[in-house]
Symmetry: C2
DNA sequence: CGCGATTTGTGCACGTCTTCACAAGCGCCT
DNA sequence: AGGCGCTTGTGAAGACGTGCACAAATCGCG
């Protein structure tokens, strides 16, 4: 499930604050989900909870990390050291959560050789060598959209089977390769949609308007969280 | 729907390449979704497709931008100009897709006054003034997790009703405030999970292992795309 | 003017995810 | 040892999203 990493983060927090065990209710709150959902998720990994007590935090962390394949530190190749790539290269969250940026690559010769956060940028055509040196499991694409597909092909060619794509475009990859996409502008646009929705049903009823603002049922906010109480 | 921005992006691409109209099939391919799904999505906005012809690209762009509330350029306040915030401040995608970064804020006095991409960083406590100068619709949190909740409270206090949170933590906000979360490490962990899954069912069958690697049905990759053919 | 090719819009069925509610199990206290 | 309260794990019901398949509608051409 895609929620396991969130549970893992919450568990690490709990472990740091000295909790030995946690109930499904407590963990669910910390992760921002329903407690029944959490129990069902955890039960799917044949988990070790104790009725009447809860879950052993340390044990559960170990279990989830195993399922996520985080027992080994995975090497990540980051392609594109523009604005975003630069930030990603220095992002602490990667190192602290089981990943190691093994290589920085870029297609721009002017950038090759540049040192960023203690790593030297290499040319993207050196990917085969890089892959030979280290077993690259995951590729991160932080290039402009125009270059993304080509980079993806190159990554696939050297055996990468998981790609995290920050470029605003659809990648086509062969079977067996997983792609996850993160588009920052899209996130904002979704928020903008909600803003627009809220604004139009609060103030002006927009009598003459089309059906666009008052979309028929089922458009309530399902993602994200709304109000958990303070 | 959360897919509308993706359609919009695809439509802009099509418009630039000189297409006047597009069929649901064509647009679906460009956006990486099923054509029936796309038609259903578009029909929910009471849309203007012509049977036998397809959709008018320009009209559809206009419609979707209206629904998303992009007819007005929305002002965004960005809090936290560390690694990530720095990159976000310079990210072209925001400006080019209907957003304007109206203010850069940070809690660290050492950073206040610094100029980033032509903008001066102000102290986060100046939020009320900033909000008074411009109508801030959306707040972006790019701070460490420890500061995120406090920043969220401050944003809510000045009337922000949509928050994009990059900090790895759950925010609690009052009713009516929308929060979307982007956690880069979680994205990688999800990919790691798929890597682990692929590795364990390809190579070693892991006879003695727990049920963890061979999770019972329904864990196929549902998000992202897998293989669209090249 | 009529016919066929093409494409939208949608009813229907299916599978998945979510949530409730409750039985089973565990520990603690008497 | 027995009972009581608490928490997990799960069955069932419902909501939701997805995809197929087809009727309705439009255009172009003869």
């Amino acid at each position: 499930m895609a929620r396991l990493p969130e549970y893992l983060r919450a568990l690490h927090n709990l472990a740091e604050t000295g909790n030995e065990t946690v109930s499904s209710e407590g963990l669910a709150n910390a992760a921002g989900v329903n407690s029944a959902k959490l129990r069902k998720d955890l039960s799917h990994l044949g988990s070790y909870g104790t009725r009447g007590v809860g879950y052993d935090v340390a044990l559960l962390i170990e279990q989830i990390e195993y399922v996520l394949g985080l027992t080994q530190r995975r090497a990540v190749a980051l392609v594109g050291v523009g604005n975003l790539g630069h930030a990603l290269a220095g992002y602490d969250g990667f190192a602290s959560r089981g990943f190691r940026i093994a290589a920085l690559l870029d297609a721009d010769p002017a950038r090759v050789g540049e040192e960023i956060h203690g790593m030297v940028v290499r040319h993207v055509d050196e990917l085969p060598q890089v892959a030979a040196e280290e077993s690259i499991a995951i590729g991160v694409i932080a290039t402009p959209a125009s270059a993304a597909q080509r980079v993806a092909d190159q990554l696939v060619a050297v055996g990468v089977t998981s790609i995290l794509n920050f470029a605003p475009c659809v990648l086509s990859v062969p079977d067996g390769v997983d792609v996850r996409k993160v588009d920052l502008a899209i996130e904002l646009q979704i928020l903008s949609f909600h803003e627009h929705r809220k604004a139009s049903l609060t103030g002006l009823p927009r009598t003459g308007g089309s059906a666009l603002t008052a979309l028929p049922g089922g458009l309530a906010v399902t993602e994200g969280q709304e109000a958990i109480g303070t």
